[in-house]
Symmetry: C2
Subunit: 286 residues, 2 copies
């Protein structure tokens, strides 16, 4: 018997929509709130939500858990505007890829008797909108819970139960500073690299005939939502610049080894990267 | 009715092995030559080859086509040593990822009455050895034919027929200089990036819990065969250094935009990269 049965998702984009599909399949009562009517109708049509509306007044008073799947910048004002409709005991959460910038402002706007748990599901797609939502992307994905000094163990337990139920894999609890630092490396840097890689193509070359899986893999995320990702990049500026610099130094070392015919160093870097990649695969299986 | 029926593969590694599997499935008579006996036995066991040996004396006189799937550096000495066993009219080919460094030396060692066609199948795997060979990697893959002033249209036709028969996708004819220049960008640069990315990890962080598909995709090829890839990197030094520099400039421009809060430029780069990635997907479908 599930304690938290009624879930409202705010923002039926690709992430919110994927949650809605997964939750409905698991028997939760899911409501959807979305600015545009089309996504609501699409979500109802595929039974991802039971009902939906452009604003949340009808659903917030009923909800055990609310997941605000909006762009990070929009969460605070949303709570300011609609927090009063949320019932006591409700667990509120987000899906934002960065945290430091908003944690205090959000904490200051959580309705009394409620708790806000900062969460970052490591699942997404480059495409936008409900039509690309798919519960498959959540299956086995890493789920990060970002705790603050006021985070309760009950909130962590409730959320862990919910996301485990819909198929997420490893759940990790971290703190705000660590989250934003590591995420700059594991998520934002790869996106910066993919963009730089495809943009460094000489437009005269007929690249498409010359590519294999490696180029395809490394540029997949170069198809990027410019509004969301510029917000994520600027919102985690310090960490991102540090991690880009660390990467630049490694690449410069490869370039130096090539230029100086330093075969020993180049092979050592290849052996190190191979070991690390194998260790990563191994950890995934644990 | 196939004109070229008997094919010998020299080197039953992951690429040569994949060819052997695919060719045998299509009804060719395939012989395998490999330094170590184990791969020969494995290949016979799965019917990838009809017969095999450590040296090619028995098979070269019978072969209509010979594919030398060795490391680039080994091709010339192989031809020097065993070219005399190759029958007149035989089409000889390679699978090497770089060309300029070897083209002249190979051309000087082609047996009389034979032709050497420089080929680069854009399919491979990071793992080594016959046990990772799989004809699936060839399906739909790009195939590059690198022509020189002495390349005959008959040789191109024979090879095109063969590789189309075993499932390769687009076949593109290019010249040596263009091949090595573009391949530095589409193949070698992605490998350098993947290695630099995973090696720039702070070893104290528990990265594995923080990764999504993007990091996984960008580091897959960081598990790299250090002998082969150091040879490819040093053998295409000038082109690779230029392309790394072009990439570094693009990444520096992203870093600058972040540091200077230049949102307009950052979004413009994201829009450009998205358009290019979509164009790439579209071209693949054509």
């Amino acid at each position: 018997m599930k304690e938290d049965k009624i879930i409202t998702i705010v923002g039926l984009g690709v992430v919110g929509g994927s949650y809605a599909i997964a939750l409905s399949k698991k028997g939760y009562t899911v409501y959807g709130v979305n600015r545009s009517r089309q996504s609501i109708e699409d979500a109802i049509a595929v039974k991802a939500i039971k009902d939906g509306a452009e604003t949340p007044e009808k659903f917030f008073p009923l909800s055990d858990i609310i997941i605000i799947a909006l762009y990070p910048d929009q969460i605070v004002s949303y709570l300011e505007k609609y927090g009063k409709y949320i019932k006591k005991g409700c667990l509120i959460s987000d899906v934002a890829g960065i945290k430091s910038k908003f944690v205090e402002a959000i904490a200051a706007n959580v309705p009394e008797g409620c708790e806000f748990l900062f969460c970052h599901p490591m699942a997404g797609r480059e495409k936008r909108g409900f039509k690309y939502a798919d519960d498959k992307v959540l299956q086995g994905a890493n789920f990060l819970i970002v705790s603050t000094p006021t985070t309760s163990s009950q909130a962590i337990e409730r959320m862990s139960r919910l996301v485990t139920d819909i198929g997420f894999g490893r759940i990790r609890i971290t703190d705000v500073a660590t989250h934003d630092e590591v995420i700059a490396y594991t998520s934002q840097l790869p996106h910066a690299i993919a963009v730089a890689l495809i943009n460094s193509d000489d437009e005269n070359s007929e690249t498409a005939s010359y590519i294999g899986d490696s180029y395809r893999d490394l540029t997949r995320i170069a198809n990027i939502n410019e509004d969301l990702w510029s917000e994520l990049f600027f919102g985690n500026k310090g960490n991102l610049i540090s991690t880009i610099t660390r990467f630049e130094n490694q690449l410069a070392e490869i370039k130096r080894a090539i230029a100086e015919d330093d075969c020993q160093s180049l092979k050592a870097m290849f052996i190190k990267s191979s070991q690390r990649r194998l260790a990563l695969e191994k950890k995934k299986q644990d």
